[in-house]
Symmetry: D2
Subunit: 384 residues, 4 copies
Amino acid sequence: MGRMSTQDSPVRLHAADAPGQPDVTPALEDLYRGFEQELLVPLWTEIGDLMPAHPRSRAVPHLWRWANLRGLAERAGALVPVGRGGERRAIALANPGLGGRPFATPTLWAAIQYLMPGEDAPEHRHTQHAFRFVVEGEGVWTVVNGDAVPMRRGDFLPQAGWNWHAHHNATDRPMAWIDGLDIPFQYVTESQFFEPGRDAIGDAERITPERSRSERLWAHPGLRPLSVGELGPGTPLLSYKWEFTDRALADQLSLEAEGFGGTVEPGHAAVRYTDPATGGDVLPTIRVETHRVVRGAETTPVRETGSSVYQVFDGSGTVTVGARSWSVSRGDLFVVPSWEPFSARSEAGSTDSGSGALDLFRFSDAPVFEALRLNRTHVEGGAR
Amino acid sequence: MGRMSTQDSPVRLHAADAPGQPDVTPALEDLYRGFEQELLVPLWTEIGDLMPAHPRSRAVPHLWRWANLRGLAERAGALVPVGRGGERRAIALANPGLGGRPFATPTLWAAIQYLMPGEDAPEHRHTQHAFRFVVEGEGVWTVVNGDAVPMRRGDFLPQAGWNWHAHHNATDRPMAWIDGLDIPFQYVTESQFFEPGRDAIGDAERITPERSRSERLWAHPGLRPLSVGELGPGTPLLSYKWEFTDRALADQLSLEAEGFGGTVEPGHAAVRYTDPATGGDVLPTIRVETHRVVRGAETTPVRETGSSVYQVFDGSGTVTVGARSWSVSRGDLFVVPSWEPFSARSEAGSTDSGSGALDLFRFSDAPVFEALRLNRTHVEGGAR
Amino acid sequence: MGRMSTQDSPVRLHAADAPGQPDVTPALEDLYRGFEQELLVPLWTEIGDLMPAHPRSRAVPHLWRWANLRGLAERAGALVPVGRGGERRAIALANPGLGGRPFATPTLWAAIQYLMPGEDAPEHRHTQHAFRFVVEGEGVWTVVNGDAVPMRRGDFLPQAGWNWHAHHNATDRPMAWIDGLDIPFQYVTESQFFEPGRDAIGDAERITPERSRSERLWAHPGLRPLSVGELGPGTPLLSYKWEFTDRALADQLSLEAEGFGGTVEPGHAAVRYTDPATGGDVLPTIRVETHRVVRGAETTPVRETGSSVYQVFDGSGTVTVGARSWSVSRGDLFVVPSWEPFSARSEAGSTDSGSGALDLFRFSDAPVFEALRLNRTHVEGGAR
Amino acid sequence: MGRMSTQDSPVRLHAADAPGQPDVTPALEDLYRGFEQELLVPLWTEIGDLMPAHPRSRAVPHLWRWANLRGLAERAGALVPVGRGGERRAIALANPGLGGRPFATPTLWAAIQYLMPGEDAPEHRHTQHAFRFVVEGEGVWTVVNGDAVPMRRGDFLPQAGWNWHAHHNATDRPMAWIDGLDIPFQYVTESQFFEPGRDAIGDAERITPERSRSERLWAHPGLRPLSVGELGPGTPLLSYKWEFTDRALADQLSLEAEGFGGTVEPGHAAVRYTDPATGGDVLPTIRVETHRVVRGAETTPVRETGSSVYQVFDGSGTVTVGARSWSVSRGDLFVVPSWEPFSARSEAGSTDSGSGALDLFRFSDAPVFEALRLNRTHVEGGAR
């Protein structure tokens, strides 16, 4: 409290001769020194930054190539042990507009995690909401509250905050996948709690079943187990297997082909992962979707408040984020900052498998915006 | 996209010889350079900062004296015109832990606004949710969508985002009040839109009624006008007059005196301002309350996720925020960062009026935490 | 189970030679006897009754004159004691279309209750949701969970199910009021529980305060006491005093006069009583409103699914329900069955007080319809 | 309005010399005649019936044998045409306690519907919520808004109110199934609308696909199509195929066998059919579940407010409803009135298939009770 010397105060004000600003006079300079000493900042010098006509993100569109990520993760596999303290061999995307912090966007964390044969990542829990998504490989099980959940290409594993979890690689090959969390959002809002668990999971949890217990209870379409009572925030279903996602997307496209709609727009199918107990988003702060764009199709540019991270799951094409445009293929990750228009075109690429569709995995902070009534969407051309 | 030179990358990694960290070797250094070039940051160097055992706020407890704020605002009244561009003669609290930015807490803006006799502040609208609270004086009307709302000591005027609003001082004396907004939260989430309105309000809006139209429709206890259909986010009631707040607090204390409870704890009455159409918070992102602590009483220390700003409305006493403690009196403002314990004691002060109760006006970001299921509270002693 | 003799079965089927019906043959007659024995009824003989093009209520529009009700209640005061077993000296409206049962409409109960000087009605609780409304007199207190709530002309006292309650007349004059409950609805759905309480309320509950404790906690516009935690279904505010209702209606009409709307339609003001903790209806199954129609005005005919009971609180005029029309004045009660169009005209009457407005108190089963998505409204002329 | 002659009034009051009743005197008799003329009924003569200590249903436990129903439906197939006017060849259960009306319980309709080879049931829509459940056979498609939904043993087809629907039998064999609706509830609340559609469905709707379009969009576990916007009340998924139900029940029992719970109680698995867009009940007024009781197991008796209809889908055993108990096998239907305790035991029967489990299909009015906060449950022994 109280007056600070100008040197000590972190506030620095510059009287500027500019439209909308007061005349620069010695009295004004003196006033500004008074503001600095009292830890005050006038609105009139900040309004352009704080209250823009529309969101102008500090984050920038950026692309990370999967091959590079994967290569560095392999090197980390050789040099960096996994254990208590560091907790995970996870390497996060740092948006170049966000000052070198490990924030893919102002609210979202995205990292590649890498586990060597036979390794375990120790058990812990935290309020940050998290998920795993597997773009390649298999062989790791995530153990959530003692329930071993297998991870294979295309599987999406959400895991709401404050659930105990560990990973174990039961095979003789390393495996990489991506982690998505709301770490930056909880860092800003300062709501984080963390607790370490057991250093090693039990032998009974080293079983490697085809389906987790959560799937056996919850992965039946439109069916709720009566044995389950009150649930916490976030989905009780711990894995959304690729076979279901793939079939749902294929069904939408065949409905479209038969003339019945079903797709978001021609050649563009999409599903949202939902909590079967509520029909809402899988996590309170993170929305997750998979989009399929058929060969030759292009999505309509859309602007939304809030930010997204995409990973190319399959196929190849060109994605456009505001003024940037990239050719992308399997595993590549990129970010779409708030209110930047985004579109994707599916095109033949050198590494393609057969179907030619561009499959994009997406996660975003949309539930935050919807819960707080801050969501806005603008579709180019005004329709969809 | 793509590899950056180490110089250009904002990422800077320092291999450190510390528990939980990998051995510092040339290979590790080389790996870290690779991370920097690829805009990557490992979790294991950041986890302590990002995933603490409990919230450790970057914001610090701090107090601003009303006399100092008021004095600087008066000087600004003489030097800084009010008009389009700067928009408002508002001077914001800058928490010393937040780098000199005009953020009282990581999510909340608090400012003193000052309007000279006969002045108008121009009309605009923005997505940021806002309110006014009047600690002294009268004579200004806030015109919201053409409805002139009077401002007098103790009145609380919420105003949800995207409503047109202007201020006009109809008297021959200057007036000061405080503005609270979610500017920092919307700055971080990048959800802001802003639009200027008319440069001057119409003559018909210069009327200065005792009660706004919104009060005539909505300020009747438990009664909803049938003429009002679908409502947007935020309360339709634009003023919560002091007479009602004061009476509600007095009623709670008399119920307690008669042996029927009614107070939060002995000697501590409190009301929350609510949206009469939903019973919920007045604004989607901001909770507002007034607390009354009777002379001699002290509140139990409470920790909560999320941050608050308090203004002393009346009385005097001592407030304790974490390790800091201050004697406070009318108009003083202070902040309570996330998870810092807060308590208040009501004590005789030199400037007191009769009752001796310490009245504290409070606003916080609690609705954000509740909507996203991130709220936690800890009451010292475990009960209340 | 099993075959019944035709004599024993309550099912009686009549083969009829009519459009949409099967040919009347001995085989059909034999089939119908089989249905009767097996306790079966075909849809094709019932569909016109069960699935009409729009609701055709079994209830009929009907009016009860206050003078007659009041006179009979007085006679009951002399002949019928109040005590355990009978519980209340309440006399219910029996819609002539509903077979002589004490049902004002298929879902709503409306009764006049009468209490002699010094009498108590014994304490009990039941799952049926209830309220009192006072068209004349004063002197009775309803004691709800030990909280004594005064009753005066114009006061509305809701009381959600399963709260203990008793009445006591603290004066030397009898008093009459109306009770509204969802007895028929709970009778049909078979959800009722009932429990007798103490035979006499305690002396401490015989106090006769101006305001109940519930009002002191909750009757402050837009203010919620922080001391109150989780609430059950139904409003915590036990009295909505006439002074607030009257002022809210007058405010709407003055806003209309100033050109700002505020009324439902010209000359027609209306408020809904709401739960201050939720903004929703005061009771889970009953909606309550007061409408004011200024002298000379007439409301637009409206049809709604669900039924209503009205009582004339003040003024006089003509009300039209479907094909029926009545001149009404203070205290008269009438019912509006489902989908019957209703309108009211305010006219001079012989017993009027000054203002000339027709004030109508209304309760309905609308919350049931809205909760189950069965609500439909049709406003004549298609607008409002 | 006005006084009725005693002969015309449907009200009949009998002064009785009984506890809690007023003394029978000529004055009382005279008062009762006055009540009758004014269409009034006192509470004190009715309270025992209207406000019982707990629900005492007018409906009684009753069982209908499938063989008998099926036999009568076949005879109706020969005698009763299907067409506009009668609309459906549906034959409803008439609970013997409900006066011969086609009401299985006070709120629920249950009927066997029968369609001959090549027949169509004409298109219509109504506000009553409906479903089909198939205990045997296949070959009929229900066409909902032009979407042809196949019906096979074990399939559950919900269909929310106000959707166009027709049936067509595409095979050369008759087929029977059961219809469940909320006809009695909407009859009592008087909320019904009905509209006939086309007399014949189009050729394009005579296609007989394996999966309906609704299944292709919605029957993917935890996945929501992004192409679907705002939805009305009730599930968008028009068929819940038996293979999913069967697998979900089997999974619960295998989890139990492995020691992980998953079942409601030992040997008792159960699923609720839910709306994938909300996680809630499939219909606003009807809850639907399938229960599996393994050979030798018996369920704990449970009382609930509200009523249920059960159909034995497979297996055999003994069911107990209040004081009644029956041996049951495939297709048998029975009702559980409000607050009657229900339990089921799985036992070997003469007609069993292999597994020996007793599979019970159940529908109830529970959503009505939950929406209106009238639900209560009592599990014998107080735990589960």
